[in-house]
């Protein structure tokens, strides 16, 4: 029950407490050392003492104030680790000895540098552990992986737990309760940020229950394409306190020469180090990048190995509003997955290979039309119909943001006729090819809200090339965002309150351009999405009598066997059986319970909520917890950071951030106390006092 006090009784904390007691002891000893002098008569002194009492009182008040302030400052400074844990921030060097690792589904499958990700994680943890100079213990959670060959990679202190994310979270909780050990880190490899969002509440609860428990995300979704030398970058999950972590671990395989390591936050160098390979070898570097929660930041990590070689640069960025934007993506596989497909900042991503008339109707029915989406990305117009374009036109005019991509299979004439000409954006022409056309930034970009980071971070696109693109003749009013020597590459056009963006190249096709794999796409799209209309957008709610359609992910073999691998869980976490296979997609519903449903498809998860349709609500206020079991609601509310707790957190955060000030204050007040004592202390006739004491 009083476990929360345990951090105050660690050996270090006890030592600090003892230090804090020193001034008190000095004070008490000082009191006892007061000279006791027999004097013939205090008659006259008493008369005058009343006059001096005021001074005495003033001195006592000042001393009391100084001593109290000193102790408080010292206390707050010493409690800094507690504040830090409560606020959930992690800074460089705060590595705890025991590590709880949540292993991902595909951890052993991806190999880099001859080392599996699993092995690399183990190495990474060991490296982090070496910073703390203590033995490392690992709990390894292997969702869906009961037969991993892990025994050779880790030592005997590793514990394995199995299950999917949500199951494993419960297992972690149970495990911690049973073992009673103080595990301090949960290593969480991330393959889908949507999955992490699913277990957000559980993670928060876990962090609160175990104050010193820290979750470190290792983002594998960003490891595309593979870069040999900079192997791990942990992007920030900046908006989800207390799950904010500032870790950047870098491993590089270059053994021959020395390097300079530079870390940029924005356009500012925040970390710079010359690395002597002979001395240091491969290492993990942790950099305290101060990224305020909720602020957008991009930057890069670069390895400079001399004039003869190209610097190896890795971009990273954080997101301001993760989980807020709802995206509908219509098109084929895309190479811009790191930015566009990254689900960490989407509330919902609906991906459709193509929009057939049946799917189109079904989708509209399911989501209440396109207007429920913040952003629609139409990367492939090959199978688009007239009706689709009409709906899209309405969507844009209604304030939506539409990004249209072009490519090999794009029906340019249809696009011109149904979208670009009606919107008076321009007219796409012939495809142009060039061996290697460098990308340039439009002149007006510096003042462009969405693309200003492109201007700021020109280096992100320095080495990108565009080999193929469509020629375009743009009308007045359209704005060129990006361009090459062959013409505009990205055009923005405002239509009433909506926006239309047009790519004249296929950013998902490396044969057309490398821009999709560069840092500019996620950066740009992130900026783009931040500016969408998600703020006034409604939640993804579907009518309880409707159905939810999902593109089938079954293989042809599975379909022939009549098997479907989808598992749908109701809000009560019970299997949901109303799943019907259709041609090319799966229809789920109708639904009888309100709440959040979870679709499990192999290792992937997707959630959607079933709520009362707007027409059925009868003016009732929409409630986030509608349809959720009261117990669970209480539980979730408990996990939510609201009201006073926010203030408390802010206070803790303030205490944490001001710890240096507290130290300074303690020193100042200590000195002040001495000064006050000296001021009130008259010169002593030592000889006289010696005689008196005799």
């Amino acid at each position: 029950m009083l476990g929360f006090l345990s951090p105050l009784f660690t050996p270090l904390a006890m030592a600090l407490w003892l230090c804090a007691l020193v001034p008190v002891v000095i004070h008490l000893l000082g009191r006892h050392k007061q000279l006791k002098v027999f004097f013939p008569s205090v008659l006259l002194i008493q008369k005058k003492l009343e006059q001096t009492t005021a001074k005495q009182r003033l001195k006592n008040i000042l001393l009391l104030f100084c001593r109290t302030a000193f102790l408080l400052c010292l206390l707050f400074a010493l409690l800094n680790p507690v504040w830090k844990q409560m606020t959930g921030t992690l800074q460089s060097g705060d590595i705890h000895p025991l590590v709880l690792r949540h292993n991902g589904a595909w951890s052993g499958m991806i190999h880099e540098n001859g080392m599996s990700n699993y092995e690399h994680q183990t190495w990474l943890i060991k490296q982090l552990d070496s910073l703390s100079d203590k033995n490392c213990g690992i709990i390894d959670i292997l969702p869906f992986e009961s037969n991993r060959e892990v025994s050779t990679a880790v030592n005997s202190s590793v514990h394995w737990l199995f299950g999917n994310y949500q199951q494993s979270m419960k297992q972690v909780d149970n495990f911690l309760r049973e073992t009673g050990k103080e595990y301090t880190h949960l290593f969480l490899p991330v393959y889908s940020w949507a999955d992490i969002m699913q277990i957000k509440d559980e993670l928060i609860a876990l962090c609160r229950e175990y104050p010193f428990f820290t979750v470190v995300f290792i983002d594998y979704t960003f490891l595309y394409p593979s870069i040999d030398r900079l192997t791990r970058i942990t992007p920030r999950f900046s908006s989800e306190k207390p799950l904010v972590f500032l870790e950047c671990a870098i491993d590089f395989a270059m053994k021959q020469s020395d390097h300079a390591l530079q870390v940029m936050a924005g356009n500012k160098i925040v970390y710079e180090k010359l690395i002597d390979q002979q001395k240091e070898g491969s290492s993990v570097y942790t950099m305290p990048l101060q990224i305020p929660s909720g602020n957008y930041l991009s930057g890069s990590i670069r390895l400079l190995s001399g004039a003869v070689s190209t610097p190896f640069t890795r971009n990273y960025f954080t997101f301001r509003n993760p989980g807020k934007v709802r995206l509908l993506h219509i098109g084929s596989e895309f190479i811009s997955l790191p930015g566009l497909g990254k689900t960490s900042f989407y509330k919902e991503v609906i991906h459709l290979d193509r929009l057939t008339p049946e799917l189109f109707n079904s989708t509209l029915k399911t989501y209440g039309g396109f207007k429920t989406f913040d952003l629609i990305y139409l990367s492939n117009t090959a199978f688009s119909s007239d009706q689709l374009f009409q709906e899209l036109q309405e969507y844009v005019r209604d304030g939506g943001t539409l990004v249209v991509g072009t490519g090999e299979q794009s029906d340019i004439s249809l696009l011109n006729r149904k979208l670009l000409v009606p919107f008076k954006l321009g007219y796409l022409g012939q495809r142009k090819e060039s061996e290697k056309a460098g990308l340039s930034v439009g002149v007006s970009l510096a003042e462009h809200t969405h693309t200003y980071p492109v201007e700021v971070y020109k280096e992100l696109i320095k080495n990108t090339t565009v080999k193929q693109q469509y020629a375009i003749n743009i009308n007045e009013g359209a704005q060129i965002v990006l361009a090459t020597a062959n013409g505009p590459l990205l055009i923005e056009h405002k239509v009433k309150s909506g926006k239309l963006f047009l790519w004249t190249t296929d950013i998902d096709n490396p044969g057309w351009t490398s821009i999709g794999a560069s840092g500019i796409i996620p950066l740009f799209h992130n900026q783009l999405f931040e500016g969408t209309r998600h703020t006034d957008h409604k939640k993804l709610n579907i009518s309880s009598d409707s159905t939810f359609s999902l593109l089938s992910t079954m293989t042809e073999k599975d379909q022939n066997n009549g098997r479907h691998e989808l598992t749908v869980l109701t809000p009560d976490k019970q299997p949901f059986s109303r799943i019907q296979k259709r041609h090319g997609y799966t229809e789920i519903g109708p639904f009888s319970k309100l709440g959040t449903y979870i679709i499990l498809n192999k290792a992937d998860t997707l959630s959607f909520s079933v709520n009362l349709a707007e027409k059925q609500m009868n003016g009732k206020k929409e409630d986030f917890f509608v349809g959720i079991d009261p117990k669970e609601k209480t539980l979730r509310e408990q996990y939510l950071v609201v009201g006073a707790e926010d203030a408390l957190k802010s206070l803790r955060s303030a205490f944490h951030s001001l710890w240096k000030l507290f130290i300074f204050g303690a020193v100042i007040f200590f000195l002040l106390e001495i000064v006050i004592s000296q001021i009130f202390l008259a010169k002593t006739d030592n000889k006289l006092l010696r005689n008196i004491e005799k």
């Binding site: 007061q34 001074k55 008259a682 002593t684």
Partner: protein, 295 residues
């Protein structure tokens, strides 16, 4: 405390010089302060003594010279034998000695012994009494070697105790004092000044010449300061914590006011108030005691 080391031959030789002077002072003092009904000579004959050059021829006994051709001087009793009362305050505060080697009471004892010795030599009757609240001891005035020795013994055996109550002490002492006597009161005067004056007034009715000798140590005149202290009153055991800057100055100012008030009141009552600091050389203090009657 043994008085013998302090009353050494050398010291006695020093104060011997005060003898003649003392007598003159005493005489002068008596003549000046008390209006004699006998206009300059006493009514009660005491004895003859040999004439020595310089004696007042007024008292030359011409009849004896005519009969026997012996030159003698007539002596009268009042002139030759004055009662001197030595009163010592032996309250607890008199035990304080501060940075000096003797307590105030011991210092006062040496002074009293000195005066007793001088008085004996000039054949004055000496009385000794001491007390704090009331006289613990009273010895009637006598002029004999045995009396002197007894005084020494008593002075040596005195102990300090009790709180100072000069009013009570003098009230009890006044009835036993003979008129026209001299009194030396040794005290530190650590009492409310009004009480002191009230007490002295009672004494003043009997004794014509009163010398109030206030003995203080240097610590009492300058005060102690410089660090936090807890002062304990030696009489009442009252505790007072002092540490404030400037208290020393304030104390001295207050003491000055206290002294000034006492001096003013004593002047009105024609009483000598003599401030003596414990630690001063004895012969100097004795000289101050004797010379005070000149003023």
């Amino acid at each position: 405390m043994k008085l013998t080391p302090y009353l050494s031959n050398e010291y006695i030789t020093q104060i011997k010089n005060f003898q003649l002077k003392t007598k003159i002072i005493l005489k002068g003092a008596l003549a000046g302060w008390h209006e004699s009904p006998f206009h300059g000579y006493s009514s009660e004959f005491s004895q003859h003594r040999n004439y020595t050059p310089g004696d007042n021829l007024r008292y030359f006994d011409w009849k004896i010279y005519a009969k026997t051709e012996r030159a003698v001087i007539k002596q009268y009793q009042d002139e030759t034998n004055t009662n001197i009362y030595l009163v010592l305050d032996n309250s607890a505060s008199m035990e304080y000695k501060g940075s000096t080697s003797l307590t105030k009471l011991e210092y006062a004892s040496v002074l009293a012994a000195s005066l007793a010795t001088l008085s004996f030599r000039q054949r004055d009757a000496v009385s000794l009494s001491y007390g704090a609240v009331q006289p613990d001891f009273f010895m009637p005035p006598k002029n004999s070697a045995a009396n002197l020795q007894q005084i020494f013994t008593i002075l040596e055996g005195m102990k300090c105790s009790g709180t100072t109550d000069l009013e009570g002490l003098f009230a009890k002492l006044a009835p036993v004092l003979k008129s026209g006597s001299m009194s030396y009161i040794f005290t530190d005067l650590w009492q409310e000044p009004d009480s002191i004056i009230t007490g002295i007034k009672k004494l003043r009715h009997k004794s014509q010449a009163i010398s109030l000798v206030q003995i203080l140590t240097p610590e009492e005149t300058d005060f102690i300061s410089g660090r936090e202290m807890e002062l304990v009153d030696m009489e009442t055991f009252k505790k007072v914590k002092v540490s404030a800057t400037g208290l020393k100055k304030l104390y001295r100012e207050t003491l000055e006011e206290h002294q000034h008030y006492l001096h003013a009141e004593c002047f009105k009552l024609k009483i000598n108030l003599i401030n003596i600091t414990n630690g001063e050389p004895f012969f100097r203090s004795v000289r101050r005691l004797l010379s005070s009657h000149n003023g």
